[in-house]
Symmetry: D2
Subunit: 310 residues, 4 copies
């Protein structure tokens, strides 16, 4: 990730100017504000604004006149209770806004979360930078043979070298042809006065899905947790998980009580189906349990057995 000196000046300016406010304010998150935290090779997440904190959740749940806080232990218990029982609306009362730079194929997964606000950099209007994602060799995973949607271990060194060579060559080639069709060089100077440039909105179609885009993304805490539950999960694609991991750190700085409750009741919880409950109940009574009697699929049975070792 490389910011221009003008961008760095703007960020630094924003990071140093403080004004007084009567609003709920989180010192730990103020520390992170505007700072661009690197993700993948050219991406970042940076918090650009936020509203509310853990006490905002409490305040809304109690519809109170003040900050809602009685004692920290009361607030903690209330937040845990709310999250455990899916009382989701109080968590909608805190909001966060981020500036994110990410590969287009990651952006295409990300945008599927519809309950957020997004303003994306427009390649109809502006030139895209020459920045494309190149996986680190250890993340060049092989296609899984058992799970059509999954990855296996990393490719061996020779295959990895081959793939990286292809990816780089094709991306560089795509970008140079992008500029050529626009009749521009990288500094947006016209290449030849005798040619006419293709419209930006058309030329961009030559770029590949590993090129970086960027957007402003605003979401409330409830939907932020939904995003994290799906995208910080081990089944999520590594590249979006890298962003989710960075967002988990933001979450912890912003709303530490909600964060702990989220880890306990959402990210590291498990859902037991009606039939799985019956299996565990019998096993705990010391009764014999068997796949054949369980009404579980083979896969569910294996996962349950591996998790609970009955």
């Amino acid at each position: 990730m490389k910011l221009s000196s003008e961008e760095e000046r703007q960020i630094s300016e924003a990071r140093t100017s403080e004004v007084p406010t009567k609003r709920p304010t989180v010192p730990a998150l103020e520390q992170l504000l505007y700072f661009a935290r690197p993700v993948l090779d050219h991406g970042f997440v940076r918090v650009v604004d936020y509203m509310g904190d853990d006490t905002s959740v409490v305040q809304a749940a109690r519809v109170s006149y003040g900050r809602g806080t009685r004692k920290v232990s009361d607030d903690t218990n209330l937040i845990r209770y709310l999250l455990r029982h899916n009382h989701t609306t109080p968590f909608e009362m805190a909001e966060i806004k981020l500036h994110v730079k990410l590969p287009i194929f990651v952006a295409r997964q990300w945008i599927r979360h519809r309950t957020a606000s997004v303003n994306e950099y427009s390649a109809r209007y502006s030139l895209l930078d020459k920045e494309f994602y190149m996986p680190a060799p250890e993340n060049l995973a092989a296609q899984s043979n058992t799970n059509r949607q999954g990855r296996d271990g990393a490719l061996d060194a020779i295959e990895a070298g081959r793939v990286l060579t292809i990816l780089r060559r094709d991306a560089e080639n795509a970008y140079s042809d992008y500029l050529d069709m626009l009749n521009l060089d990288e500094n947006e100077n016209v290449l030849s006065n005798e040619r006419t440039g293709l419209a930006r909105e058309l030329a961009r179609m030559n770029l590949s899905l590993n090129f970086y885009t960027q957007w402003y993304w605003k979401i409330d805490l409830h939907n932020f947790m939904n995003f994290l539950r799906l995208r910080a999960d081990p089944h999520a694609q590594y590249e979006i998980r890298a962003y989710a991991d960075a967002l988990l750190d933001v979450f912890r700085a912003w709303c530490p009580i909600s964060y702990d409750a989220f880890m306990e009741y959402k990210l590291h919880s498990t859902l037991l189906s009606k039939s799985a409950i019956a299996v565990l109940q019998k096993a705990l009574q010391g009764e014999k349990v068997a796949y054949e009697d369980s009404a579980l699929s083979k896969r569910e049975w294996d996962e349950l057995k591996s998790k609970f070792q009955f």
Copy 2:
């Protein structure tokens, strides 16, 4: 509107404690923060938090690293352009949260705006106060004879007196029976140890729709403007319009540039249908225009003629 001394203490505490922040901050809105502005006889709106301001709209539209501002005139032009052309997503980037006290029949209209977050005071959990809406005599409108959904002028004094007597008597009666069924007095003391109180979630059904409820309501600027466009309109019911008018003042303090653009392009604009455009075009060429040739309904024709006096 009567706040308890404890409520007033909490509000006053919130209004006096300031901390530094790096976030976009609006001094004019900070002035209003937590203050309960009266609406109708017992209601209020009070801003309890906000995120962003006019420059946040600009920043998102430009996906910029800094505050997005170049010159105020640029920002103004951009905001007007965005609103005029229905580029709505940048306006989703600012957010406001209010605590509102309002009659239930107003709440039932209000909640139809689904793109907002709401936490309502729970009458399953807590006692409702003895507060019900009594219209001022000048707002006791007669049913319109020409518009089934509309009002005419105010009732005469005798009719008004009769209606107010009925409304008050029935509401007081409903409330006293509500307490009686709960086996409670107004201070939540048990009335009789020999009786069992009805569940709160059932007893509340005896209250009428003019009783007050309250909620936390959080909405982004784009949807806030949608709400205001519908509810600050002269066709909206007076009682919800009273709230919309109070919110317009909040809007002006918060985002003055967007507010001006909203008044120009939304609240005081008019939509010309394809056929209405054709009528005005002809009239401006000095051609004769007639209802019969216009493809407009009689009502549309009359409204157009009365507005443009052709």
Copy 3:
């Protein structure tokens, strides 16, 4: 529930006219179409339209050209897999529309589900009928002493009689004053030519929350299941649960495979928190488990112990 003869004629007409369609069609749901199934004393739910079925979920998950079906067993496994892993978007591809008559206090809970489309009967525009909810004596529950939001057993006969008398008297009184303020009798005839009627939009505020309203409600299968998971739950208020129970029957007729999966993975499932998993893992290894070491709250511990009997 009493329908007018005109309403019954309209329903009967709709129920008997069939036309050919190429769309996915569910014979078991066609049987229920337009029929008003009673709920509570004057309410009903009736399916008025639907789109898609179990195979629509499969078809969308596979993005296929045909009906998506290979074998019923494949479809069943896919639907169970999707629901178990919270792949929710394929369930958005089926849709249902209902006409519902329900007490206003139930409508106020119901409307909190925002991801649905609603058109409600307008009491600004039309007269409300004299129909209000009177609980059956066995549903006149006492306020719980241990759970502020809950019910205990039913009131005794004397208390029940007292409550029912109050509820009926107050509702009848409210309605007769509603008509009086409107200067109308129940057949919408003007009572006195010398008086002016209050606007309908104002007079309605005198009615209590147990009066019935009605609406068209349209929702996709994913959000329908979310509604049912919350409202068919034993913690939901009895009155809305009565509607959820009626909707479960609709669900089973419409999408039997999804219905079974829903019962298994949603309605009768349980969420184990990270700490609860650890407790069960230890218990299954025969280790001693104790509340003190569990990191669970007392309430969580008690619930877990009572469910799994370790």
Copy 4:
């Protein structure tokens, strides 16, 4: 657009099997059902299901027991009234589902409409076909010099040839390297047993934005009209407009009354700002109007003058 014989068999099967239904049914739309209408060079839209019709809008607005219809002229007037006054909820009561094949850069614009349900073909799970968008020469527009987001006329023949050569060569190269990294040929056969294929979820990043994807897309009539108002507008990019135009034909077959009202009040209407109203009012009184007194921007003034010729 080339469908496999198996796909054609599935479509033809769906198009010929009819069953009886009691639901609202639109013969003109049944004619189009499942048929793949070509858009651009390899894309299509095909209606795969629908719910409701013009009378469903009427029925919901009236909350009626039958089909809602009195006379066609009444229905037409009501629908026009609803659309004109932005009473949007009745239009949410009809729903349509389409299967769409479209270039990824078009899909990225399309997905910004969040109030719809989408299931996209997964390139994590399956191989993408070798199909990429090549604009027709007359659609190879030059970048506009006056409007950063716009197009000018078409490139000349020599430039067009150059651009088409680049686009085709780069896309073919990207696809062949995509297969090579996957260690697969186009029929999904393994290329070499001595190599390991890269995970599909990674290999896809090498494809460019003109490759085709496909999805199921379901939306209600209100949001469908919002989509069309923005995407059938002359300012929309040509490639998404081609889809919007195809959808307009679907709309007309499905709900002809709403379609006509949409053309009149939405697609071909114009919004007059408060200041523009004042200009036209003065002009119609024969008063002199001048840009300097108008409070309009230069651009607004020019557009108003060019439209109304005052």
